[in-house]
Amino acid sequence: MSTPVARSVPAAISAVLARDRWALAGTVTVVVIALAAIFADVLTALEGHDPYTYDSSALDVNTGLPAGPFGGVSGDHWFGVEPLTGRDLFAIVVHGARTSFLIGLAATLVSIGLGVLVGAAAGYLGGWVDRVVTWSADVFLGFPYLVFMIALGAVVPAEFPRVLLLVVVIGFFGWPSTARVVRAQVLTLKERNFVKAARVLGASPWQVFRTELLPNLWGPVLVMATLSVPGKIGLEAALSFLGVGVLPPTPSWGRSISAAIDWVGVDPMYLIFPGVALFAVTWGFNALGDGLRDALDPRWGGNR
Protein backbone atom coordinates (compact mmCIF):
# COMPACT_ATOMS: atom_id res chain seq x y z
CA MET A 1 0.00 0.00 0.00
CA SER A 2 1.31 3.41 -0.88
CA THR A 3 1.73 6.07 1.73
CA PRO A 4 -0.02 9.16 0.46
CA VAL A 5 1.21 11.97 2.70
CA ALA A 6 4.89 12.15 3.38
CA ARG A 7 4.90 15.83 4.24
CA SER A 8 4.74 17.22 7.76
CA VAL A 9 2.07 19.75 8.55
CA PRO A 10 4.32 22.81 8.97
CA ALA A 11 6.17 21.91 5.76
CA ALA A 12 2.85 21.60 3.94
CA ILE A 13 1.69 24.99 5.20
CA SER A 14 4.83 26.76 4.05
CA ALA A 15 4.69 24.92 0.71
CA VAL A 16 1.09 26.04 0.23
CA LEU A 17 1.90 29.65 1.06
CA ALA A 18 4.90 29.67 -1.28
CA ARG A 19 3.05 28.14 -4.23
CA ASP A 20 -0.63 29.05 -3.97
CA ARG A 21 -1.11 32.81 -4.14
CA TRP A 22 -4.83 32.62 -3.31
CA ALA A 23 -4.06 30.74 -0.11
CA LEU A 24 -1.39 33.33 0.66
CA ALA A 25 -3.83 36.19 0.08
CA GLY A 26 -6.39 34.43 2.27
CA THR A 27 -3.86 33.97 5.04
CA VAL A 28 -2.83 37.61 4.90
CA THR A 29 -6.49 38.68 5.11
CA VAL A 30 -7.14 36.44 8.09
CA VAL A 31 -3.97 37.56 9.86
CA VAL A 32 -4.71 41.26 9.32
CA ILE A 33 -8.24 40.96 10.72
CA ALA A 34 -7.02 38.72 13.54
CA LEU A 35 -4.44 41.34 14.49
CA ALA A 36 -7.15 44.01 14.39
CA ALA A 37 -9.21 41.86 16.73
CA ILE A 38 -6.33 41.26 19.13
CA PHE A 39 -5.28 44.92 19.19
CA ALA A 40 -8.83 46.29 19.03
CA ASP A 41 -8.31 48.37 22.16
CA VAL A 42 -5.05 49.85 20.90
CA LEU A 43 -6.52 50.65 17.50
CA THR A 44 -9.62 52.30 18.87
CA ALA A 45 -7.55 54.26 21.39
CA LEU A 46 -5.44 55.44 18.47
CA GLU A 47 -8.58 56.58 16.68
CA GLY A 48 -9.99 58.03 19.90
CA HIS A 49 -13.38 56.28 20.12
CA ASP A 50 -14.95 53.23 21.70
CA PRO A 51 -17.86 51.12 20.40
CA TYR A 52 -20.25 52.03 23.21
CA THR A 53 -20.37 55.84 23.49
CA TYR A 54 -23.29 57.61 21.83
CA ASP A 55 -22.31 60.78 20.03
CA SER A 56 -25.12 62.91 18.62
CA SER A 57 -22.63 65.53 17.40
CA ALA A 58 -21.58 63.16 14.58
CA LEU A 59 -25.17 62.97 13.33
CA ASP A 60 -27.39 65.09 11.18
CA VAL A 61 -29.88 66.57 13.65
CA ASN A 62 -32.95 66.27 11.44
CA THR A 63 -32.57 62.79 9.94
CA GLY A 64 -30.45 60.88 12.45
CA LEU A 65 -28.13 59.98 9.59
CA PRO A 66 -24.36 60.35 9.95
CA ALA A 67 -23.19 63.88 9.21
CA GLY A 68 -20.99 64.10 6.13
CA PRO A 69 -20.73 61.96 2.99
CA PHE A 70 -20.18 58.14 2.92
CA GLY A 71 -21.76 57.49 6.29
CA GLY A 72 -19.64 60.12 8.01
CA VAL A 73 -16.22 58.73 7.02
CA SER A 74 -13.53 61.18 8.15
CA GLY A 75 -10.12 61.40 9.80
CA ASP A 76 -11.93 61.35 13.12
CA HIS A 77 -14.31 58.46 12.34
CA TRP A 78 -12.41 56.12 10.01
CA PHE A 79 -15.45 54.05 9.01
CA GLY A 80 -18.00 56.75 9.80
CA VAL A 81 -20.65 56.35 12.49
CA GLU A 82 -23.79 54.36 13.17
CA PRO A 83 -27.02 56.15 12.22
CA LEU A 84 -29.25 57.25 15.10
CA THR A 85 -26.63 56.60 17.82
CA GLY A 86 -23.45 58.14 16.43
CA ARG A 87 -21.33 55.29 17.76
CA ASP A 88 -18.02 54.89 15.93
CA LEU A 89 -18.31 52.24 13.22
CA PHE A 90 -14.57 51.45 13.09
CA ALA A 91 -14.59 50.65 16.79
CA ILE A 92 -17.70 48.50 16.32
CA VAL A 93 -16.12 46.60 13.41
CA VAL A 94 -12.79 45.82 15.11
CA HIS A 95 -14.44 44.88 18.39
CA GLY A 96 -16.94 42.85 16.36
CA ALA A 97 -13.94 41.03 14.87
CA ARG A 98 -12.98 40.10 18.42
CA THR A 99 -16.45 38.63 19.06
CA SER A 100 -16.41 36.74 15.75
CA PHE A 101 -12.94 35.26 16.19
CA LEU A 102 -13.52 34.35 19.82
CA ILE A 103 -16.75 32.48 19.09
CA GLY A 104 -15.59 31.05 15.75
CA LEU A 105 -12.29 29.68 17.07
CA ALA A 106 -13.63 28.45 20.41
CA ALA A 107 -16.60 26.70 18.78
CA THR A 108 -14.27 25.09 16.23
CA LEU A 109 -12.06 23.87 19.07
CA VAL A 110 -15.09 22.31 20.76
CA SER A 111 -16.46 20.65 17.63
CA ILE A 112 -13.11 19.42 16.30
CA GLY A 113 -12.02 18.20 19.73
CA LEU A 114 -15.24 16.29 20.26
CA GLY A 115 -15.25 15.02 16.68
CA VAL A 116 -11.68 13.71 16.85
CA LEU A 117 -12.19 11.95 20.18
CA VAL A 118 -15.53 10.43 19.24
CA GLY A 119 -14.49 9.55 15.68
CA ALA A 120 -11.20 7.96 16.76
CA ALA A 121 -12.97 5.97 19.47
CA ALA A 122 -15.53 4.72 16.94
CA GLY A 123 -12.90 3.78 14.37
CA TYR A 124 -10.36 2.22 16.73
CA LEU A 125 -12.61 0.46 19.23
CA GLY A 126 -15.30 -0.61 16.74
CA GLY A 127 -18.16 -2.78 17.99
CA TRP A 128 -20.98 -1.15 19.90
CA VAL A 129 -19.04 2.12 20.36
CA ASP A 130 -18.86 2.43 16.59
CA ARG A 131 -22.53 1.64 16.18
CA VAL A 132 -23.60 4.18 18.81
CA VAL A 133 -21.39 6.91 17.33
CA THR A 134 -22.46 6.28 13.73
CA TRP A 135 -26.08 6.22 14.73
CA SER A 136 -25.93 9.39 16.85
CA ALA A 137 -24.07 11.15 14.05
CA ASP A 138 -26.99 10.28 11.76
CA VAL A 139 -29.48 11.63 14.28
CA PHE A 140 -27.44 14.80 14.71
CA LEU A 141 -27.28 15.36 10.99
CA GLY A 142 -31.06 15.03 10.93
CA PHE A 143 -31.42 17.59 13.70
CA PRO A 144 -32.73 20.99 12.59
CA TYR A 145 -29.93 22.70 14.44
CA LEU A 146 -30.37 26.25 13.15
CA VAL A 147 -34.05 26.33 14.07
CA PHE A 148 -33.21 24.72 17.38
CA MET A 149 -30.49 27.32 18.10
CA ILE A 150 -32.88 30.16 17.26
CA ALA A 151 -35.48 28.70 19.59
CA LEU A 152 -32.86 28.14 22.27
CA GLY A 153 -31.81 31.78 22.05
CA ALA A 154 -35.35 32.70 23.00
CA VAL A 155 -35.76 30.49 26.04
CA VAL A 156 -32.33 30.68 27.68
CA PRO A 157 -32.43 33.39 30.37
CA ALA A 158 -30.52 36.59 29.74
CA GLU A 159 -28.32 35.99 32.80
CA PHE A 160 -26.59 33.06 31.11
CA PRO A 161 -23.44 34.35 29.36
CA ARG A 162 -24.34 34.49 25.68
CA VAL A 163 -20.86 34.02 24.25
CA LEU A 164 -20.44 30.81 26.24
CA LEU A 165 -23.86 29.58 25.13
CA LEU A 166 -23.02 30.24 21.47
CA VAL A 167 -19.63 28.52 21.73
CA VAL A 168 -21.11 25.44 23.37
CA VAL A 169 -24.13 25.15 21.10
CA ILE A 170 -22.38 25.91 17.81
CA GLY A 171 -19.46 23.70 18.79
CA PHE A 172 -21.63 20.85 19.99
CA PHE A 173 -23.64 20.57 16.79
CA GLY A 174 -20.48 20.48 14.66
CA TRP A 175 -18.92 17.20 15.78
CA PRO A 176 -20.61 14.64 13.48
CA SER A 177 -18.94 15.68 10.22
CA THR A 178 -15.48 15.71 11.85
CA ALA A 179 -16.17 12.40 13.56
CA ARG A 180 -17.10 10.76 10.24
CA VAL A 181 -13.88 11.83 8.54
CA VAL A 182 -11.70 10.90 11.53
CA ARG A 183 -13.43 7.54 11.88
CA ALA A 184 -12.71 6.73 8.23
CA GLN A 185 -9.05 7.77 8.63
CA VAL A 186 -8.64 5.71 11.80
CA LEU A 187 -10.18 2.66 10.13
CA THR A 188 -7.34 2.63 7.59
CA LEU A 189 -4.65 3.64 10.10
CA LYS A 190 -5.73 0.77 12.35
CA GLU A 191 -4.59 -1.74 9.76
CA ARG A 192 -1.13 -0.23 9.41
CA ASN A 193 1.75 -2.09 10.95
CA PHE A 194 2.93 0.56 13.40
CA VAL A 195 -0.49 0.67 15.03
CA LYS A 196 -0.71 -3.10 15.10
CA ALA A 197 2.75 -3.24 16.66
CA ALA A 198 1.79 -0.78 19.37
CA ARG A 199 -1.30 -2.81 20.16
CA VAL A 200 0.60 -6.07 20.32
CA LEU A 201 3.12 -4.45 22.68
CA GLY A 202 0.21 -3.82 25.04
CA ALA A 203 -0.46 -0.12 24.53
CA SER A 204 -3.82 1.02 25.88
CA PRO A 205 -6.30 2.57 23.43
CA TRP A 206 -5.55 6.01 24.89
CA GLN A 207 -1.79 5.51 24.36
CA VAL A 208 -2.35 4.33 20.80
CA PHE A 209 -4.54 7.36 20.20
CA ARG A 210 -1.99 9.81 21.59
CA THR A 211 1.21 8.43 20.15
CA GLU A 212 0.19 6.57 16.98
CA LEU A 213 -3.12 7.91 15.67
CA LEU A 214 -3.10 11.59 16.59
CA PRO A 215 0.19 12.47 14.84
CA ASN A 216 -1.26 11.04 11.63
CA LEU A 217 -4.52 12.91 12.01
CA TRP A 218 -3.11 16.43 12.25
CA GLY A 219 -3.26 17.01 8.50
CA PRO A 220 -6.95 16.29 7.89
CA VAL A 221 -7.86 17.81 11.26
CA LEU A 222 -6.11 21.05 10.36
CA VAL A 223 -7.89 21.20 6.99
CA MET A 224 -11.27 20.51 8.58
CA ALA A 225 -10.66 23.08 11.31
CA THR A 226 -9.62 25.79 8.85
CA LEU A 227 -12.62 25.11 6.65
CA SER A 228 -15.04 24.99 9.57
CA VAL A 229 -14.04 28.29 11.20
CA PRO A 230 -15.79 30.47 8.57
CA GLY A 231 -18.96 28.42 8.89
CA LYS A 232 -18.97 28.95 12.64
CA ILE A 233 -18.23 32.67 12.34
CA GLY A 234 -21.05 32.85 9.81
CA LEU A 235 -23.40 31.00 12.14
CA GLU A 236 -22.69 33.43 14.97
CA ALA A 237 -23.28 36.33 12.60
CA ALA A 238 -26.51 34.74 11.35
CA LEU A 239 -27.82 34.20 14.88
CA SER A 240 -26.88 37.73 15.89
CA PHE A 241 -28.47 38.93 12.66
CA LEU A 242 -31.71 37.30 13.79
CA GLY A 243 -31.45 38.81 17.26
CA VAL A 244 -30.76 35.56 19.12
CA GLY A 245 -26.95 35.69 19.17
CA VAL A 246 -24.65 38.03 21.04
CA LEU A 247 -26.62 40.52 23.12
CA PRO A 248 -26.15 44.29 22.85
CA PRO A 249 -24.06 46.25 23.57
CA THR A 250 -21.37 43.65 22.71
CA PRO A 251 -20.45 44.52 19.10
CA SER A 252 -21.23 41.87 16.50
CA TRP A 253 -21.03 42.04 12.71
CA GLY A 254 -24.27 40.10 12.31
CA ARG A 255 -26.21 42.50 14.52
CA SER A 256 -24.77 45.55 12.74
CA ILE A 257 -25.75 44.07 9.37
CA SER A 258 -29.23 43.38 10.70
CA ALA A 259 -29.55 46.95 11.95
CA ALA A 260 -28.30 48.20 8.59
CA ILE A 261 -31.37 46.71 6.85
CA ASP A 262 -33.48 49.68 7.92
CA TRP A 263 -30.89 52.14 6.61
CA VAL A 264 -29.69 50.43 3.46
CA GLY A 265 -31.45 52.91 1.17
CA VAL A 266 -30.00 56.03 2.79
CA ASP A 267 -26.76 54.96 4.49
CA PRO A 268 -25.28 51.97 2.60
CA MET A 269 -21.85 52.37 4.24
CA TYR A 270 -23.38 51.14 7.50
CA LEU A 271 -23.95 47.82 5.70
CA ILE A 272 -20.72 47.80 3.68
CA PHE A 273 -18.12 47.96 6.46
CA PRO A 274 -19.29 45.12 8.71
CA GLY A 275 -20.44 43.20 5.62
CA VAL A 276 -17.07 43.37 3.90
CA ALA A 277 -15.30 42.40 7.13
CA LEU A 278 -17.49 39.29 7.44
CA PHE A 279 -17.00 38.41 3.79
CA ALA A 280 -13.22 38.92 3.99
CA VAL A 281 -12.78 36.63 6.99
CA THR A 282 -14.96 33.93 5.46
CA TRP A 283 -13.14 34.11 2.15
CA GLY A 284 -9.72 34.18 3.82
CA PHE A 285 -10.31 31.01 5.83
CA ASN A 286 -11.86 29.26 2.82
CA ALA A 287 -8.93 30.13 0.56
CA LEU A 288 -6.39 28.96 3.13
CA GLY A 289 -8.37 25.79 3.85
CA ASP A 290 -8.74 24.92 0.16
CA GLY A 291 -5.00 25.41 -0.33
CA LEU A 292 -4.15 23.22 2.64
CA ARG A 293 -6.48 20.52 1.45
CA ASP A 294 -4.87 20.52 -1.98
CA ALA A 295 -1.44 20.21 -0.38
CA LEU A 296 -2.26 17.59 2.24
CA ASP A 297 -4.73 15.48 0.32
CA PRO A 298 -3.24 14.27 -2.98
CA ARG A 299 -6.64 13.12 -4.27
CA TRP A 300 -7.58 16.73 -4.81
CA GLY A 301 -4.35 17.69 -6.53
CA GLY A 302 -4.48 18.95 -10.09
CA ASN A 303 -8.15 19.82 -10.05
CA ARG A 304 -7.59 23.51 -9.63
Binding site: D138, V139, G142, F143, P144, Y145, L146, V147, F148, I150, A151, L152, G153, A154, V155, V156, P157, P230, G234, A237, A238, F241, L242, G243, V244, I257, S258, A260, I261, V264, G265, P268, L271, G275, L278, F279, T282, W283, N286, A287, W300, N303
Partner: protein, 331 residues
Protein backbone atom coordinates in the same frame (compact mmCIF):
# COMPACT_ATOMS: atom_id res chain seq x y z
CA UNK B 1 -41.65 -8.22 0.32
CA UNK B 2 -38.05 -7.16 0.60
CA UNK B 3 -39.01 -3.67 -0.52
CA UNK B 4 -41.81 -3.49 2.01
CA UNK B 5 -39.48 -4.50 4.81
CA UNK B 6 -36.95 -1.92 3.71
CA UNK B 7 -39.62 0.79 3.55
CA UNK B 8 -40.91 -0.09 6.99
CA UNK B 9 -37.44 -0.06 8.61
CA UNK B 10 -36.77 3.23 6.90
CA UNK B 11 -40.06 4.69 8.12
CA UNK B 12 -39.38 3.44 11.64
CA UNK B 13 -35.99 5.15 11.58
CA UNK B 14 -37.56 8.42 10.45
CA UNK B 15 -40.15 8.32 13.22
CA UNK B 16 -37.44 7.51 15.77
CA UNK B 17 -35.31 10.49 14.71
CA UNK B 18 -38.36 12.76 14.94
CA UNK B 19 -39.16 11.39 18.40
CA UNK B 20 -35.63 12.17 19.53
CA UNK B 21 -35.82 15.69 18.09
CA UNK B 22 -39.16 16.24 19.85
CA UNK B 23 -37.84 14.85 23.11
CA UNK B 24 -34.64 16.95 23.12
CA UNK B 25 -36.48 20.12 22.21
CA UNK B 26 -39.16 19.49 24.77
CA UNK B 27 -36.72 18.77 27.58
CA UNK B 28 -34.57 21.82 26.80
CA UNK B 29 -37.52 24.18 26.49
CA UNK B 30 -39.28 23.02 29.61
CA UNK B 31 -36.28 22.66 31.85
CA UNK B 32 -35.15 26.18 31.07
CA UNK B 33 -36.71 28.47 33.68
CA UNK B 34 -39.38 30.31 31.73
CA UNK B 35 -43.06 30.01 32.51
CA UNK B 36 -45.53 30.31 29.61
CA UNK B 37 -48.39 30.40 32.11
CA UNK B 38 -46.90 33.49 33.70
CA UNK B 39 -46.97 35.24 30.32
CA UNK B 40 -50.56 34.22 29.70
CA UNK B 41 -52.05 34.93 33.10
CA UNK B 42 -52.31 38.68 32.70
CA UNK B 43 -51.74 41.50 35.15
CA UNK B 44 -52.07 41.60 38.05
CA UNK B 45 -51.15 37.94 38.26
CA UNK B 46 -52.45 36.44 41.49
CA UNK B 47 -51.13 33.05 42.55
CA UNK B 48 -54.63 31.61 42.05
CA UNK B 49 -54.84 32.89 38.48
CA UNK B 50 -51.36 31.54 37.78
CA UNK B 51 -52.27 28.12 39.10
CA UNK B 52 -55.45 28.23 37.04
CA UNK B 53 -53.55 29.16 33.87
CA UNK B 54 -51.02 26.40 34.50
CA UNK B 55 -53.75 23.85 34.96
CA UNK B 56 -55.55 25.05 31.84
CA UNK B 57 -52.44 24.80 29.70
CA UNK B 58 -51.38 21.54 31.29
CA UNK B 59 -48.19 22.87 32.86
CA UNK B 60 -49.05 21.67 36.34
CA UNK B 61 -47.94 18.14 35.54
CA UNK B 62 -44.37 16.79 35.63
CA UNK B 63 -42.51 17.33 32.38
CA UNK B 64 -42.53 13.72 31.25
CA UNK B 65 -46.31 13.56 31.63
CA UNK B 66 -46.54 16.73 29.56
CA UNK B 67 -44.37 15.13 26.89
CA UNK B 68 -46.57 12.05 26.75
CA UNK B 69 -49.67 14.26 26.57
CA UNK B 70 -48.05 16.15 23.71
CA UNK B 71 -47.33 12.92 21.84
CA UNK B 72 -50.86 11.71 22.55
CA UNK B 73 -52.23 14.93 21.10
CA UNK B 74 -50.57 14.19 17.77
CA UNK B 75 -52.63 11.04 17.36
CA UNK B 76 -55.81 11.80 19.26
CA UNK B 77 -56.00 15.59 19.52
CA UNK B 78 -56.38 17.24 22.89
CA UNK B 79 -58.65 19.57 24.74
CA UNK B 80 -57.42 22.33 27.04
CA UNK B 81 -59.67 23.21 29.97
CA UNK B 82 -63.27 22.11 30.45
CA UNK B 83 -66.76 23.43 29.86
CA UNK B 84 -67.49 26.52 27.78
CA UNK B 85 -63.94 27.90 27.89
CA UNK B 86 -62.42 24.66 26.59
CA UNK B 87 -60.18 24.89 23.56
CA UNK B 88 -60.05 21.86 21.33
CA UNK B 89 -57.06 21.10 19.17
CA UNK B 90 -57.97 18.29 16.79
CA UNK B 91 -55.61 15.52 15.71
CA UNK B 92 -52.90 15.76 14.57
CA UNK B 93 -52.31 18.35 17.30
CA UNK B 94 -48.72 19.63 17.35
CA UNK B 95 -49.49 22.04 20.15
CA UNK B 96 -51.66 25.06 20.71
CA UNK B 97 -50.26 28.56 20.88
CA UNK B 98 -51.90 30.50 23.68
CA UNK B 99 -50.02 33.57 22.54
CA UNK B 100 -51.71 33.66 19.17
CA UNK B 101 -54.80 31.65 20.13
CA UNK B 102 -54.28 29.25 17.28
CA UNK B 103 -53.46 25.67 16.45
CA UNK B 104 -49.69 25.51 15.77
CA UNK B 105 -50.21 23.30 12.74
CA UNK B 106 -52.59 25.86 11.25
CA UNK B 107 -50.09 28.64 11.89
CA UNK B 108 -47.44 26.64 10.05
CA UNK B 109 -49.88 25.81 7.25
CA UNK B 110 -50.73 29.49 6.77
CA UNK B 111 -47.09 30.44 6.28
CA UNK B 112 -45.86 27.41 4.40
CA UNK B 113 -46.85 28.55 0.87
CA UNK B 114 -44.55 31.60 1.09
CA UNK B 115 -41.52 29.63 2.25
CA UNK B 116 -42.27 26.87 -0.23
CA UNK B 117 -42.52 29.35 -3.14
CA UNK B 118 -39.23 30.91 -2.12
CA UNK B 119 -37.37 27.64 -1.70
CA UNK B 120 -38.62 25.70 -4.69
CA UNK B 121 -38.14 28.53 -7.16
CA UNK B 122 -34.66 29.24 -5.89
CA UNK B 123 -33.70 25.57 -5.80
CA UNK B 124 -34.71 25.04 -9.43
CA UNK B 125 -32.55 28.00 -10.38
CA UNK B 126 -29.54 27.12 -8.28
CA UNK B 127 -29.39 23.41 -9.08
CA UNK B 128 -29.98 24.00 -12.79
CA UNK B 129 -27.57 26.86 -13.20
CA UNK B 130 -25.02 25.46 -10.77
CA UNK B 131 -24.78 22.12 -12.54
CA UNK B 132 -24.82 23.66 -16.02
CA UNK B 133 -22.06 26.14 -15.18
CA UNK B 134 -20.04 23.48 -13.37
CA UNK B 135 -20.18 21.07 -16.30
CA UNK B 136 -19.23 23.72 -18.82
CA UNK B 137 -16.41 25.02 -16.63
CA UNK B 138 -14.98 21.49 -16.36
CA UNK B 139 -15.22 20.90 -20.11
CA UNK B 140 -13.49 24.22 -20.79
CA UNK B 141 -10.91 23.86 -18.04
CA UNK B 142 -8.51 26.82 -17.75
CA UNK B 143 -10.38 29.04 -20.22
CA UNK B 144 -11.76 32.44 -19.21
CA UNK B 145 -15.19 30.86 -18.65
CA UNK B 146 -13.73 28.38 -16.20
CA UNK B 147 -11.84 31.09 -14.34
CA UNK B 148 -14.89 33.36 -14.17
CA UNK B 149 -17.06 30.50 -12.91
CA UNK B 150 -14.50 29.64 -10.25
CA UNK B 151 -14.11 33.24 -9.14
CA UNK B 152 -17.88 33.69 -8.98
CA UNK B 153 -18.31 30.51 -6.97
CA UNK B 154 -15.58 31.55 -4.53
CA UNK B 155 -17.46 34.79 -3.89
CA UNK B 156 -20.80 33.00 -3.65
CA UNK B 157 -19.48 30.45 -1.15
CA UNK B 158 -17.99 33.11 1.14
CA UNK B 159 -20.68 35.79 1.02
CA UNK B 160 -23.51 35.29 3.51
CA UNK B 161 -26.99 35.17 1.97
CA UNK B 162 -28.19 38.22 3.87
CA UNK B 163 -25.26 40.31 2.70
CA UNK B 164 -25.82 39.43 -0.98
CA UNK B 165 -29.54 39.98 -0.45
CA UNK B 166 -29.11 43.41 1.06
CA UNK B 167 -26.68 44.45 -1.64
CA UNK B 168 -29.16 43.17 -4.21
CA UNK B 169 -31.94 45.22 -2.66
CA UNK B 170 -29.64 48.22 -2.51
CA UNK B 171 -28.47 48.06 -6.12
CA UNK B 172 -31.38 46.51 -8.03
CA UNK B 173 -34.21 47.68 -5.82
CA UNK B 174 -33.26 51.17 -4.65
CA UNK B 175 -30.63 52.44 -7.10
CA UNK B 176 -31.78 50.94 -10.40
CA UNK B 177 -35.39 50.36 -9.41
CA UNK B 178 -35.78 47.30 -11.62
CA UNK B 179 -37.28 44.81 -9.18
CA UNK B 180 -39.90 45.31 -6.48
CA UNK B 181 -38.74 45.10 -2.86
CA UNK B 182 -40.67 43.50 -0.05
CA UNK B 183 -44.11 42.60 -1.25
CA UNK B 184 -45.47 39.15 -1.54
CA UNK B 185 -48.51 38.20 -3.61
CA UNK B 186 -50.03 34.76 -3.27
CA UNK B 187 -49.69 32.53 -6.33
CA UNK B 188 -53.42 31.89 -6.38
CA UNK B 189 -54.07 35.62 -6.49
CA UNK B 190 -51.80 36.65 -9.35
CA UNK B 191 -49.09 34.27 -10.59
CA UNK B 192 -47.22 36.97 -12.52
CA UNK B 193 -46.90 39.32 -9.58
CA UNK B 194 -46.07 36.34 -7.38
CA UNK B 195 -43.11 35.46 -9.58
CA UNK B 196 -42.04 39.07 -10.12
CA UNK B 197 -42.01 39.76 -6.39
CA UNK B 198 -39.84 36.70 -5.79
CA UNK B 199 -37.31 37.28 -8.58
CA UNK B 200 -34.75 39.03 -6.41
CA UNK B 201 -34.88 36.54 -3.50
CA UNK B 202 -34.65 33.67 -5.97
CA UNK B 203 -31.60 35.10 -7.69
CA UNK B 204 -29.87 35.92 -4.41
CA UNK B 205 -30.46 32.45 -3.00
CA UNK B 206 -29.43 30.89 -6.31
CA UNK B 207 -26.17 32.83 -6.30
CA UNK B 208 -25.28 31.93 -2.73
CA UNK B 209 -26.25 28.26 -2.96
CA UNK B 210 -25.43 27.67 -6.63
CA UNK B 211 -21.79 28.45 -5.91
CA UNK B 212 -21.40 25.15 -4.03
CA UNK B 213 -22.92 23.29 -6.97
CA UNK B 214 -20.54 24.90 -9.44
CA UNK B 215 -17.53 23.85 -7.35
CA UNK B 216 -18.86 20.38 -6.68
CA UNK B 217 -20.01 19.69 -10.24
CA UNK B 218 -16.79 21.00 -11.73
CA UNK B 219 -14.44 18.88 -9.64
CA UNK B 220 -16.67 15.81 -9.96
CA UNK B 221 -16.89 16.29 -13.73
CA UNK B 222 -13.10 16.62 -14.06
CA UNK B 223 -12.62 13.44 -12.09
CA UNK B 224 -15.24 11.51 -14.06
CA UNK B 225 -14.02 12.64 -17.47
CA UNK B 226 -10.58 11.18 -16.78
CA UNK B 227 -11.95 7.73 -16.00
CA UNK B 228 -11.65 4.64 -18.11
CA UNK B 229 -15.30 4.17 -19.01
CA UNK B 230 -15.36 7.62 -20.61
CA UNK B 231 -12.33 6.71 -22.71
CA UNK B 232 -14.00 3.44 -23.67
CA UNK B 233 -17.22 5.24 -24.64
CA UNK B 234 -15.28 7.67 -26.78
CA UNK B 235 -13.23 4.88 -28.34
CA UNK B 236 -16.30 2.97 -29.46
CA UNK B 237 -17.55 6.10 -31.19
CA UNK B 238 -20.26 7.35 -28.87
CA UNK B 239 -20.98 11.00 -29.76
CA UNK B 240 -19.40 13.46 -27.32
CA UNK B 241 -22.85 14.84 -26.41
CA UNK B 242 -23.94 11.43 -25.19
CA UNK B 243 -20.65 10.83 -23.42
CA UNK B 244 -21.03 14.02 -21.42
CA UNK B 245 -24.80 14.16 -21.09
CA UNK B 246 -25.40 10.53 -20.25
CA UNK B 247 -22.26 8.69 -19.18
CA UNK B 248 -20.57 11.43 -17.22
CA UNK B 249 -23.54 13.40 -15.93
CA UNK B 250 -25.05 10.37 -14.21
CA UNK B 251 -21.95 10.11 -12.03
CA UNK B 252 -21.80 13.83 -11.43
CA UNK B 253 -25.40 13.96 -10.29
CA UNK B 254 -24.94 11.59 -7.34
CA UNK B 255 -23.18 14.05 -5.01
CA UNK B 256 -25.38 16.84 -6.39
CA UNK B 257 -28.48 14.97 -5.25
CA UNK B 258 -26.99 14.50 -1.80
CA UNK B 259 -26.17 18.18 -1.50
CA UNK B 260 -29.64 19.18 -2.70
CA UNK B 261 -31.19 16.93 -0.10
CA UNK B 262 -29.08 18.36 2.69
CA UNK B 263 -29.84 21.92 1.63
CA UNK B 264 -33.54 21.25 1.28
CA UNK B 265 -33.54 19.72 4.72
CA UNK B 266 -32.07 22.86 6.21
CA UNK B 267 -34.51 24.98 4.21
CA UNK B 268 -36.45 26.25 7.18
CA UNK B 269 -33.33 27.49 8.95
CA UNK B 270 -32.18 29.26 5.83
CA UNK B 271 -35.64 30.68 5.20
CA UNK B 272 -35.55 32.50 8.52
CA UNK B 273 -32.68 34.64 7.29
CA UNK B 274 -33.84 35.17 3.70
CA UNK B 275 -37.35 36.05 4.75
CA UNK B 276 -36.10 38.59 7.24
CA UNK B 277 -33.98 40.28 4.55
CA UNK B 278 -36.79 40.43 1.98
CA UNK B 279 -39.56 40.91 4.56
CA UNK B 280 -41.51 37.89 3.32
CA UNK B 281 -44.31 36.62 5.59
CA UNK B 282 -43.19 32.97 5.66
CA UNK B 283 -42.31 30.33 8.22
CA UNK B 284 -39.12 32.15 9.16
CA UNK B 285 -41.18 35.14 10.20
CA UNK B 286 -43.40 32.88 12.29
CA UNK B 287 -40.35 31.48 14.04
CA UNK B 288 -38.91 34.90 14.79
CA UNK B 289 -42.25 36.16 16.11
CA UNK B 290 -42.43 33.10 18.32
CA UNK B 291 -38.91 33.81 19.59
CA UNK B 292 -39.77 37.37 20.53
CA UNK B 293 -43.11 36.41 22.07
CA UNK B 294 -41.61 33.46 24.00
CA UNK B 295 -44.21 31.28 22.33
CA UNK B 296 -42.93 27.85 23.35
CA UNK B 297 -45.70 25.88 21.66
CA UNK B 298 -44.99 27.47 18.28
CA UNK B 299 -41.23 27.09 18.75
CA UNK B 300 -41.64 23.41 19.50
CA UNK B 301 -43.94 23.00 16.52
CA UNK B 302 -41.51 24.77 14.16
CA UNK B 303 -38.53 22.74 15.38
CA UNK B 304 -40.44 19.52 14.89
CA UNK B 305 -41.55 20.62 11.44
CA UNK B 306 -37.96 21.49 10.53
CA UNK B 307 -36.90 18.05 11.74
CA UNK B 308 -39.63 16.52 9.61
CA UNK B 309 -38.28 18.34 6.53
CA UNK B 310 -34.74 17.07 7.17
CA UNK B 311 -35.89 13.50 7.60
CA UNK B 312 -38.07 13.56 4.49
CA UNK B 313 -35.31 15.17 2.42
CA UNK B 314 -32.87 12.45 3.49
CA UNK B 315 -35.35 9.75 2.53
CA UNK B 316 -35.90 11.33 -0.90
CA UNK B 317 -32.14 11.44 -1.44
CA UNK B 318 -31.86 7.73 -0.68
CA UNK B 319 -34.66 6.92 -3.09
CA UNK B 320 -33.27 9.01 -5.94
CA UNK B 321 -29.88 7.37 -5.42
CA UNK B 322 -31.51 4.13 -6.39
CA UNK B 323 -32.91 5.71 -9.56
CA UNK B 324 -29.58 7.23 -10.61
CA UNK B 325 -27.24 4.47 -9.58
CA UNK B 326 -28.42 0.88 -10.01
CA UNK B 327 -25.62 -0.28 -7.69
CA UNK B 328 -27.21 1.60 -4.81
CA UNK B 329 -30.66 0.07 -5.36
CA UNK B 330 -32.21 -1.36 -2.23
CA UNK B 331 -30.66 -4.73 -1.60
Amino acid sequence: MKNLKFALTRLGGMVLVLLIVAFCTFVVFYLVPSDPALLACGKPCTPENLALAREFMGFDEPWWRQFLTFLGGIFAGRTFGTGVTAIHCSAPCFGYSFRQNADVLELIGDRLPVTFSLAVGAAVLWVGLGVAIGVHAALRKDTWFDRAALAGSVIGVSAPVYLVGLLGILVLGFQLNVVPVGNYTAFTEDPVRWAWGLVLPWCVLAFAHGAHYVKLTRSQMLETMSEDFIRTARAKGVPERTVVGKHALRNVLLPVVTLTGIEFGSLLGGAVITERVFSLPGLGGLLIEAVHGRDLATLLGCTLFAGFLVVVANAVVDLSYGLLDPRARLT
